[in-house]
Symmetry: D2
Subunit: 473 residues, 4 copies
């Protein structure tokens, strides 16, 4: 209620009652003023009512919601269905303009402001949880794969002749597709096996750079978060190579914001070498529906350049989800989720070790992977374990068996699934991701043990036979 | 309520009352069965309750909503904020898989089904409103500009050496950016002035094809819907050239689905020549928030190929909006909106003619533009008219004054805004778009007249002076 | 957005864009200021966004929504379920205090204000649609029957010895129960048959007053809106009797606000005689869910007295529904609904006459019933017609056959359903109530004709036999 | 999704993915089947999605939501505002019929079923948390005061001559008003002071019964939950008197369901003596908005009789809130809230004792009050303490100073606020009610200490003076 309304309300109510309402309102408003003034993610999360109030206020700033608006253009944000209007808080104009995804729209001051604030909050959060040197970020209304692609496309203008993207192998299709669809040739750098773990082959990478000649290399695309037994890439060393040879360095940090280790490596890489952009998904890091990604970097101009390459407007929806979520979480909420995640990672490890001991299996030692773990599976077991877990309501486990071969967009990868042509074990992976609960771990372990028991007894009955890998996602 | 529940409910209620409920339920269900069986947009729109019921049912099919689900992957669609969960009907997994935007997700049967059904309904609707030969379509969760870009990127694999996109000029930034960001060189084909109208210069286009050699041409990008005084491109003739020379032909049909004329030209072009894909925005054609586009074509394989080029998952949000809206509209709702639009176009024309007569101005004759119209503005008037209309709550009018020059992504265009280097008039445009009401026309005309009167009297006072063009969007 | 926020937003957006938002906001705010200042129902309805914005603002004024609230009482409006909180806009404290249903609550300034405003809007509307002399009204969070009962209970204090309520018969259970539950004895005044119509037997009423002696009569309870063939009671004449003999006069105006005739009679009765209170349902007159009633009158003190008799707090829910609906309708919306209703009444009459002619039936002439009509049914027809219509999805038709006897709360009524011991016809009723559409009439007539045809042919086959009355509600 | 839909969905999705969806659906359905079959509150709470799904299903069973419905009655549940329709899940017909609040409506099978299920769940819960002998209950869509009044009105028919209600004093207006508005004379039975505590004066009660003669006593109205220093009434002894003298016994158990002690006394009273009905508020016991009450008893017929006295229909809204909340809580949720409440009661007591020691005050010993506690206040302190706490955002504290006199509905009570004409202390009360958190206690204690410090220093400065009591609600 504005001051005038509260004054008029005194005709109905004693002013002492209204004083309290005014005080409460002032405390809510001051949060909003701070957000606008400091451009920071609030420390403490807001209640839903304050968030919704702000959304309604922002929505009223868009021309399609002006009581006296009269639209004679081709896009006037008339929304046919009330269900649709409501679920978007009547925001209809999207974000960006023809020229630039982060430009403000005259017709949509509210949506534009929401977009700016979201970007500001994400930037603040990224800095505060660990990548202090971040200079700019953009919330892109498309997922990680597309954002990697857009980032690669943004490099072409300044390196028109470069046609190779060097890619320390990770067995995940999207990033491979992102390179190919962007029109580049993929140069696979196979990982090296160190103990159970797979790490970046830095000498091979260096070798490749000099073979191809740096000016022909459009970018090196490294990865932080990934399925075990692959570890985080050796970001600092790659960043140094990139700096030395003036090669763009893009980091696929898909779900790495939730891990202090990933954050640390990016911050360090940016300090000691070159990192042009690091890209992360909003769904995996911020517990929102799939649909957005954040591209961030240490050079504000390059990030802005990506925004300027984006042709046309875009959905505000992923930005809106993030806006709501960040206000609701606050920095404290996020860091406490990170802490819990780390604890559940430890708990999951302990529980998997017990199972490993009980069934004579092996928990793969992958200390450079802070999120995902691998457990070897009994010889001769494959698909059936994955399917059984899936049908028991366990989602997200991957069962990888050796010797798969896959060709994606013209690139053939031996030992598909394992990030390595000859990984010595079949195994399954499990991850402790943001939002996982201790109860989730317990449920998983219960179901896993049940499946392993069943399979073990079957195996004892019949002779084991080889089987194909299946992902239960 | 399922049959068993209704049976159990007889312990509480007389069975005659329940019979009616059962009958009503059967009629609702039969709509859903038909949707699944026929894969068609319903003729008559559904009520919101039936739509929401179906959405809840679909949402329950996604693993994150299974009561007993246990997620140990990195992406388990845990949604932090209740506000966010609710506005997405708890759909969190997005659409597509790493490999393909239209692939189904094991974790998300409901979202996948929703996506398939939406695509099926859009295809059916496009066929029934006029482009009968359409073989396939994809709802892309990004707007027109990005979808044009993705479509162009999809051409590279089969035409790796082609680097030019021929582009009959339209003064709109997104499509130009789409070409450039996709890594192609833009070859501008200037329009020819026929009376007041600007049309495709087919001879110049032919000439360019032979100069550059067809195999170097990645595609010709034509446009249907556009601001007056540009008309629809000569699609049929371009399509014939493309067929003859084996050049891909992409049609930017941004808001053309709402116009029978645009639909007719695309259908004819596909019949007599080559059209690889036509692309249209979901917001402008279906009255949903900005964020989606439909790419459709006469060759199902090419459309599928575009889907397969998409790296990673994507937001279900634009698809969901369309799903709700199509079920709510039905084909009848859509065609009746089209009819109204056409009537309001006539009404707007009549009213603008009156104003033209009253103020000694000229309504530009542009019979090949079925949506937008141009009215010349008094000599010496420019920015001020646009600003005044904008501040009076008129959105969407563009005021174009001659002799603007603009450089976008390295391409310099003379006479920017007018689609022509030397258009002889300054003018303003107004469009009769889907959802516009007669009251909108009346309000607009009232405000326009007021502004023109004010300006006329000012002009009489002082001598007129030249001014720059400003768009009121 | 408050002024400070808009000022701070200039760091993100050009101030010209914000100017528009500010202007739009001012126009919205001025509506709210007017509402608070004038205490009147707005002429024109508001859009949902403005309504929701105001609701959020009111909700924030309740202590349970204060960010820093700390509750140590027994009722602190903690709401367990998010679904429940949301559907009530987080209003939890209800209305009223122990002492008075219309008293303001210190803990709930927002709910209290909402309540006051709703009462003010209803009062204004009642005056403007016809009962100009109304001095006060109370929206009661309970339906008509209970509100009649509460009003009767409020009379006891000043007339402790009076034990009779005189009641011109209307065959509807609630009002009868209201009298009995309030602890009074019902004195039925049978109606007189005038042509097809049933009217108040004023002489019999006078006679009864003098027989019982006025001081023993607690009240006379008349009725306006009712099922045909009963007409509106002769309010003016009863009001005069009440004035003369100093007897309270309560009018059951259940769904009469929607009819200018009912309004006119109440206004006149209040002018020429005595009307203590007239009571109407919110669902039937304002198209909200069942649950509220309005008690209004020409003497503000008596209405306030009723409020003060109410023990304890009450649900805000019916008040909230009315608040939203009145803001959404505006006075213009309401009067236009009234006009449509009246037109559909005429249309229904015309169509029923056609059917009457076609099937050799008779449309009962009941010019004093402005809402409900009666059509005789073929001899020997009863239950089956009602059931058939019900099963065909026609609700609200009553089929009345003569000679039913019913005892309710100790009162035996002959000819139950017909408001008369010996009504000469069997008949069915249909009403043109607020919100009915022309399409409803057409659908009804189609189904009615179908049923009548079926029944006629059956009747021709077999000999007709007597049947019992059944209401299809 | 029904079986047929899932079968048809196989045209779009692999049947293995659908199998999972089917399994999940079966588990959800089985909960609904159990609810319908067992008529019990679920042990474990349901997720919101299942609850909403059921609500949508129930709503579809009401005729106003039938796709082919055609209404020609006066009440067809047409809902004008979409906001209103939505917040009620499109349930519009309310509950009950003219004759009986618990009767089913032919037009509203869904609402009727919802009502029946809610009543069944409440009955089950009441039994399981302690009053095992409960035979029936009714959720009334009005708050405690009105429900007490309705219950008293229901007694009149069988005891027409009885005009007194004996009332062991409790200083709360609603119950007093309930008696008076129902038309009875209040006979106040003053409490006796036992230590710090006020208890029922059983001898005085007996005395009064014989003085007035039992047949003139309509009922004895006792109270369980109340502000300290009053304790729970001596229910068992009163119940025995009632049994012996054949006097109805109504228990005002306003917020006593949350306390095992209150439950125990009611159960015992019902076993050893006579309890006709015990009445409790839904908001205070179930954390829903104000608006409902539950009347329950050991004799199903009497409870049904109350329902049959209710004239007309009523709002479904309070029932709906309870339905949602009980499904969401489950019995386990409720009992765990009870346990927490009890722990916070202990914690509050400990903290108040500390303050008592620190400020030389006294925590009143009231072991028969399981919810509310009293702390004496410094001599000469009154209003100011209440106001200061209120303005600091503490709600629900009552500050009581001796020697207040109040006349309510003709009944004069000395020592108002203290339940006793001469309570020896001024004091404040604080309650540990359902849903209170440990943080609430801490915040309260912090603010209380601050206020006490401020007041103490003021008192030291000036000489203390007497002051009036003020409630901070």
């Amino acid at each position: 209620m504005d001051a005038e309304s509260l004054r008029l309300a005194e005709r109905f109510l004693p002013s002492t009652y209204l004083k309290q309402a005014r005080d409460a309102d002032i405390s809510r408003r001051s949060r909003i003023h701070q957000l606008l003034e400091k451009r920071k993610c609030p420390d403490e999360g807001w209640d839903d009512q304050t968030i919704e109030g702000l959304l309604v206020d922002l929505s009223k700033m868009d021309s399609n919601n002006f009581p006296a608006n009269c639209g004679v253009g081709e896009r006037e944000s008339r929304i046919f269905s009330g269900l649709v209007a409501q679920r978007h808080y009547r925001l209809g104009h999207g974000i960006g303009r023809s020229g630039d995804i982060s430009e403000v729209q005259p017709k949509a001051a509210g949506s534009s402001l929401l977009n700016k604030l979201t970007n500001a909050m994400v930037l603040d959060l990224i800095r505060r949880i660990g990548i202090r040197g971040t200079q700019a970020c953009l919330v892109m209304p498309m997922a990680t794969g597309m954002t990697v692609m857009m980032t690669l496309l943004s490099l072409r203008e300044s390196r028109p002749q470069a046609k190779y993207v060097l890619w320390p192998r990770i067995d995940q299709k999207s990033c491979l597709k992102a390179i190919v669809t962007a029109g580049y040739q993929v140069v696979v750098i196979e990982n090296v096996l160190e103990g159970d773990e797979l790490r970046t082959d830095v000498p091979a990478l260096k070798e490749k750079v000099s073979t191809l000649s740096p000016e022909n290399v459009a970018a090196i695309l490294t990865t932080t978060s990934c399925f075990a037994p692959r570890g985080v890439d050796r970001l600092e060393e790659v960043a140094k190579i990139c700096k030395e040879h003036d090669i763009p360095h893009i980091v696929n940090n898909a779900y790495g914001l939730q891990s202090t280790k990933c954050l640390h490596h990016i911050q360090q890489a940016g300090r000691v070498g070159r990192v042009d952009a690091f890209i992360q998904s909003t769904d995996k890091n911020f517990m929102v529906p799939v649909g957005g990604a954040v591209v961030a970097g240490f050079d504000a101009q390059f990030i802005e350049h990506i925004g300027k390459m984006y042709p046309g407007r875009a959905s505000v929806s992923p930005v809106l989800d993030l806006f709501i979520t960040l206000l609701s979480m606050g920095v404290q909420g996020y860091t406490s989720l990170m802490t819990q995640r780390s604890e559940h990672m430890d708990y999951l490890r302990t529980r998997l070790e017990e199972v490993a001991n009980g069934f004579d299996l092996q928990l793969l030692l992958t200390k450079n992977n802070p999120i995902s773990m691998g457990l070897t599976i009994p010889k001769g077991v494959g698909t059936e374990l994955g399917s059984q877990l899936f049908l028991r309501g366990v989602s997200g486990v991957r069962v990888v068996t050796p010797n798969q071969i896959k060709t994606i967009a013209g690139v053939t990868l031996k030992g598909w699934g394992a990030h390595h042509p000859n990984y010595p074990h079949g195994y399954l992976t499990a991850a402790a991701a943001l939002g996982m609960t201790k109860a989730d771990v317990d449920t998983f372990m219960g179901r896993l043990e049940k499946c392993l028991k069943k399979i073990s007894s079957k195996l004892r009955e019949r002779g084991a036979e080889d089987d194909n890998g299946v992902e239960s996602q």
